[in-house]
Symmetry: C2
Subunit: 307 residues, 2 copies
């Protein structure tokens, strides 16, 4: 009899707008595309008209859809702050969050999430564990870090919980005139004789080595530097090939500074996980942090898939 409208529907609408299409919205909400499609169909039957034009990207909303979206924008921020207040009521507002990363590039997307987090949890002390850490997960049991971004999910470490973050493609980066640049994809053999330009991390942390060169029994010469920009400068000037996350180099590719090539017939993919101290894993602020990271990455980084 009375209204069937629920917050769920409003969250779907805003996710649709933010993500750009239903499938991506579903990913953002941890639901299936089908679920959202059914939801929208239901709303459309209630309000007697389409909510948005399916084809257009970004989605164009109809008057009905726009009115619902306007409502969402009014409501959801209040819901969010209320839930934040309630979480703080339940568990207190203080804590610490020392963050360690395996690879510097992560700061690109970590920073915005950290800024957002700082605003939401002003009384949680946030720090970056400085220095070079080949094994950031190891810092957690030593109580030198609370959260680490790592590329492998290793459930064997006791007292550490892993939260899946996202999956992304790793591509080979070549100079514009590189001989390999027009191959449809690169295989292990193509790396023979090339210099691999990387971040300064151990061999076994590199997905190209782990997944492609290692299994093929190959070793290549390596050269490393910390900054992505420096790394690409080396590639552009023909000193070698890099293998980097697509999201880290998208802007350089778009500008035509360097070119890229798929690694392996089906592409090479890496994943990232957030490792956190078991005793913090359930706290509201840690849960909120992980959520913020996933969300901001999904909306910011091109071509990634949430895990």
């Amino acid at each position: 009899m009375s209204s069937l409208l629920e917050l769920r529907h409003l969250r779907t609408l805003t996710a649709l707008r933010d993500a750009g299409n239903l499938s991506r919205a579903a990913e953002l909400l941890n639901l299936t595309q089908s679920a959202l499609s059914h939801q929208i169909k239901l709303l459309e039957s209630i309000y007697g008209g389409a909510l948005y034009e399916r084809k257009s990207v970004p989605p164009r909303f109809t008057a009905i859809g726009a009115r619902l979206l306007e409502l969402s924008d009014r409501l959801l921020p209040h819901v969010d702050t209320a839930e934040l207040d309630l979480a703080r009521l339940a568990a207190g507002t203080a804590g610490q969050l020392r963050i360690a990363v395996e690879c510097h590039t992560c700061f690109d997307w970590l920073m915005p999430a950290m800024d957002e987090f700082r605003a939401r949890w002003p009384e949680v002390e946030m720090d970056i564990v400085s220095g070079f850490n080949p094994d950031p997960v190891g810092l957690i049991p030593q109580d030198r870090a609370d959260f680490a971004v790592v590329s492998r999910h290793d459930p064997s470490v006791p007292g550490v919980d892993f939260h899946p973050l996202f999956r992304f493609e790793i591509v080979a980066i070549l100079s514009r005139s590189h001989v390999l640049v027009d191959k449809p994809w690169l295989e292990a053999a193509d790396f023979a004789g090339q210099t691999l330009i990387t971040y300064p991390v151990p061999d076994e942390m590199l997905d190209v080595v782990r997944q492609l060169l290692g299994p093929a029994g190959m070793t290549v010469q390596r050269r490393s530097t910390e900054l992505t920009a420096a790394l690409l400068q080396l590639v552009a000037s023909g000193r070698g090939i890099a293998a980097l996350p697509l999201w880290a180099v998208k802007s350089y590719l778009d500008r035509g500074y360097v070119r890229h090539c798929t690694i392996g017939k089906d592409g090479l993919y890496g994943s990232l996980y957030g490792a956190c101290a078991g005793h913090l894993s359930g706290t509201p602020y840690m849960a909120d942090f992980v959520r913020l990271v996933r969300e901001s990455c999904f909306l910011t980084l091109p071509g990634i898939t949430l895990l």
Copy 2:
């Protein structure tokens, strides 16, 4: 994973506050007390504490409950206006609503609902069908009224839909010194020799006659007047007995101006229904009107039960 909070929960909380206890809140929402109890239990498990103190009336909310209620107060008005906008988008905003009543007392509670309605649907022309109408339902097929408040549900009239409104107790009103005033309840025989003071409506519209005196084969002398105040003045000065809805005389009873007595061992109950033209029955504005009437009556009139 993400939030489980839905508008449903917020509506429950505000209904609880408005209605004063869970059972009444359930009535307001057309749900069972059990449903709301389960809902609240769920919220309490999510937020880790009680939402309100069960015993106290009116309910005293805890910090958690109060925060949720604060959220409700922010959100629900927006939801309401959004749904109003959407309803108008779908069906247009104009229409007419000519209201007929069987009994004048109804204006007491009709007025506030009408005021509210006027604010919500400014382009619906609202009128009161004046004059004296022994059969208000009859005006609907004649297209002289769109909505009528009546005491009987008569599904045989074609083209007219009945919306149940509420049920209430009808009590006998006696002067403070009346001989019958200390009886635990009145039976048909007690009315012998008494004058029945009523609104000027035909015998068969009076619930006392229909349900008690008629079946007992009794007829009594009657005297009638339009205004409740005048009617009670007659009772107070010993000219006879009245049989009136408890809600209509509650304030006089509380002031001790007259006294009352249950009619029949289990009390005498009347009901009211909203009759409306079939072609308007499904329109958003008519649905909204019926809802407003039920809601405002429930919150305003003492001792009634929604149907």
